[in-house]
Symmetry: C2
Subunit: 142 residues, 2 copies
DNA sequence: ATAGTTGTAACCGTATTAGTTACAACTATG
DNA sequence: CATAGTTGTAACTAATACGGTTACAACTAT
């Protein structure tokens, strides 16, 4: 199992939108060229990022702008925007036998532990800010 | 995106195999009754756990035994046995544009960060031992 | 009015998952 | 030795998700 490529694509899109802001119009076509995919894939991700309040998109004319400072956007924000649908990343089997000493307690045994693993992952993602990534890209001009 | 239910099912299976060891013959049919699934699903998971050296299975007669002490089996061992196929849990988009200042550096920017998140999750899973879970199940007899 | 763009629906091919049926190989037991 | 019960595995199914693609209405600067 793997997470979808939407997390890396969305991060790429945000970094490109930031990097090229004011320089070129960051249309879905342009961004798709950088990400190496289809403009519709980009627009779908833009929709998720917009719904999450991370960007604004100029309808009609085109162009993506960050809605927050890059230091206020973490990989967890992006992850939550494009990936998260369910409460937990660990899918529990649906019908453990409650009459069994093990089956009747399996949730009680595992739920908190798996929650802790999830929280740990989320914490780690939240520590990675877009600004830290953007700062590593040398700006040709300026 | 979610991990498959194989992790929780496999953990359930191992806990049941441990709990009922010496008491009843833990056949795939019996275990399937506790997990709430099909015996073949159980046998498929048993195959993965066996390949990982976590259990032995009595062919012909039936019955699952742990190959290690429960304190030596972690959720990471189980995860690696039943879930892990790829190197990373984060799927990177395949064709970032190398000619773009962002696309050309996106791996350099993200690979280490995502690796760190993965390692953190694995560390957390490795800290959860089967014995800690098994100890919380009251043994009716003894 | 026009050209370029966004937002979204619809569809495709591929892959994964849990579940199921089927069956050969194996093993203890009578 | 024959049998019953079991494992291991292949083959198939239905459901779901994913990246990709085509198409098109709605929007906007010029």
């Amino acid at each position: 199992m793997q997470f979808s490529a939407r997390l890396t694509m969305a991060t790429h899109i945000l970094l490109a939108a930031d990097y090229f802001s004011g320089e070129v119009r960051t249309t879905s076509e342009f961004l798709a060229g950088s990400v190496g995919t289809n403009p519709v894939i980009v627009r779908r991700i833009l929709g998720q990022l917009r719904n999450a309040g991370l960007i604004t998109v100029e309808q009609g004319i085109g162009g993506v702008s960050l809605a927050k400072d890059p230091s206020e956007i973490s990989l967890l924000d992006i992850y939550n925007a494009v990936e998260k649908k369910e409460e937990t990343i660990f899918h529990f089997h649906e019908n453990p036998n409650g009459a069994c000493p093990v089956g009747g307690r399996i949730h009680e045994l595992l739920d908190d532990e798996l929650e802790r693993v999830t929280k740990c992952m989320e914490k780690e993602l939240s520590d990675i800010k877009l600004s830290a990534l953007a700062d590593k890209i040398p700006k040709g001009k300026e």
